[in-house]
């Protein structure tokens, strides 16, 4: 209990106070300089939008979150498989790794319309963008984890005449798990960004719209209060996915932390 109070006081309270101060300062500045509301809304206006539009905003969050999480899951699965293949052959790794970097550097905004054409309107296009943006950190980290096993541990497996499969499953995979966690943490934020960028170009048809669509449309219409509400929710969504990933990782992998 004491521990809980201390955590609240030292870790939870300070950022909350900081954000309260920031919001207060924001309101004061807007009042003071008479900033037009289409340039920057008052905090109260944003709050009112959040309350008034809660149902459609919630639905948008839900759709964006879904696309981000599915894209992230796809990244974990595909990134892990690619890293596993990379870890087994230097030639394959050296031949294909530069093209994995391509995924990191490709201007996603430029190719998103292309992806829409390929995957069609609706969720799969958005998931594809979220996937492309979030897969590289997983490939990179897991490959690093699988190929950075200390030589002495490999020799232990040599001594016991381990098969390639045994070496992979009992040495390289467990050694790479903390690296996977690092990768997924980085990717969790990217998957949300990917989903939002995807939604700029693709809607969900009759199912409604995501936060990305909302951001684009409200920006075009100078509905700044709604725009701010959507941006805040996008950020919270990213933070939430990051927190869930970190929590799960902490629970599952505590024994790997000693590495």
């Amino acid at each position: 209990m004491k521990q809980f109070v201390r955590v609240v006081l030292t870790r939870v309270a300070p950022p909350l106070i900081a954000s309260a101060l920031f919001v207060g300062l924001w309101a004061v500045v807007i009042q003071l300089f008479q900033v037009k509301s289409f340039l920057a809304p008052m905090p109260g206006d944003v709050w009112r939008v959040l309350v008034r539009e809660r149902e459609s905003l919630w639905h948008a969050c839900w759709l964006t979150g879904q696309a981000a999480v599915l894209g992230l899951l796809l990244s974990v699965v595909c990134g892990f498989v690619v890293a596993a293949v990379f870890s087994q052959s230097k030639i394959v790794r050296y031949s294909l790794y530069p093209y994995a970097i391509f995924l990191q550097t490709v201007p996603i905004v430029a190719i998103a319309p292309l992806l829409v054409m390929w995957f069609g309107y609706g969720g799969s296009g958005v998931i594809a963008v979220a996937f492309i943006l979030s897969v590289f950190p997983i490939i990179a980290n897991v490959t690093e984890g699988m190929t950075s096993v200390p030589r002495s541990l490999h020799e232990l497996f040599d001594l016991n005449r381990a098969s390639r499969w045994q070496r992979f499953t009992k040495l390289q995979v467990p050694h790479s798990l903390p690296y996977l966690v690092t990768g997924v943490r980085t990717s969790s934020g990217l998957s949300v960004i990917g989903a939002i960028v995807g939604e700029f170009f693709v809607g969900y048809g009759g199912d409604g719209f995501g936060l990305g669509y909302l951001i684009r449309v409200t920006a075009e219409r100078f509905q700044t209060d709604q725009l701010f509400a959507a941006v805040i929710l996008s950020t919270l969504l990213g933070v939430m996915i990051f927190a869930v990933v970190s929590f799960v990782a902490e629970k599952c992998l505590s024994r790997f932390r000693a590495i």
């Binding site: 232990l156 040599d158 040495l171 790997f256 000693a258 590495i259």
Partner: protein
Amino acid sequence: MTSTSRRIIAQRLGVTFPDGQTTLSELDFRGEPGEFVSILGPSGCGKSTFLRCVAGLQEPTTGTLLCEDDEAAASRIAFVFQDPNLLPWRNVHQNVGLPLELERQSSEQIAVRASDAIQLVGLEQNDSSKLPHMLSGGMRMRVSLARALVTDPHVLLLDEPFAALDEISRQMLNEELLRLWQQQGWTTLFVTHNVTEAVFLSQRVIVMSRRPATIIDEFAIDFDQPRDAELRGTPAFAETTRRVSAALRGAMS
């Protein structure tokens, strides 16, 4: 656990690394079945390389190496590394059982034999579920030793296993190792920097030259078995240690 120990015969053994560095040259060595031999020599002279050749971790460039009994049956060789080299995500029991797991033994077999090995090296059964980072350096080394012994090896190779331990842990593990050797009778090669340790443990101490290494001196150590901690305090022990140290100094200069 019963072992029929094997002899180790190295003839004109040489190792040259790809960078042209010749580490061993013309090394002749014979280890008799069940013999405990320590190897001393200047740092980086190739003691470990020799041990790695015997273990099969290093291919000799020249010469031959045999590790067999009279019927020339293959040997089970176990190797204890300088570091405990434990898998940090596996607990003690799982670490010790690893070699059996890699041999695809049944899980019942692994459970029984790993428990036996853990007991053999003086660890408590309730340490079995601990992770390596929860153990002291000495305990980790014991786990490493248990992992080597779990396969019931014919030949045991140890590469400066206790170098990183404090003096008392080292002495205790030396005594433990000697007790186990008497019980199990492996043919044992022990690489070390520590003359006292070498003299205390071995039946024979060999001294290697600087690189490219070859054997330049050899001492039979004929103190009675079983040896105990008292032995280290006797004048005869001090005299032997002095002679071996002098030879080692000669090798270094």
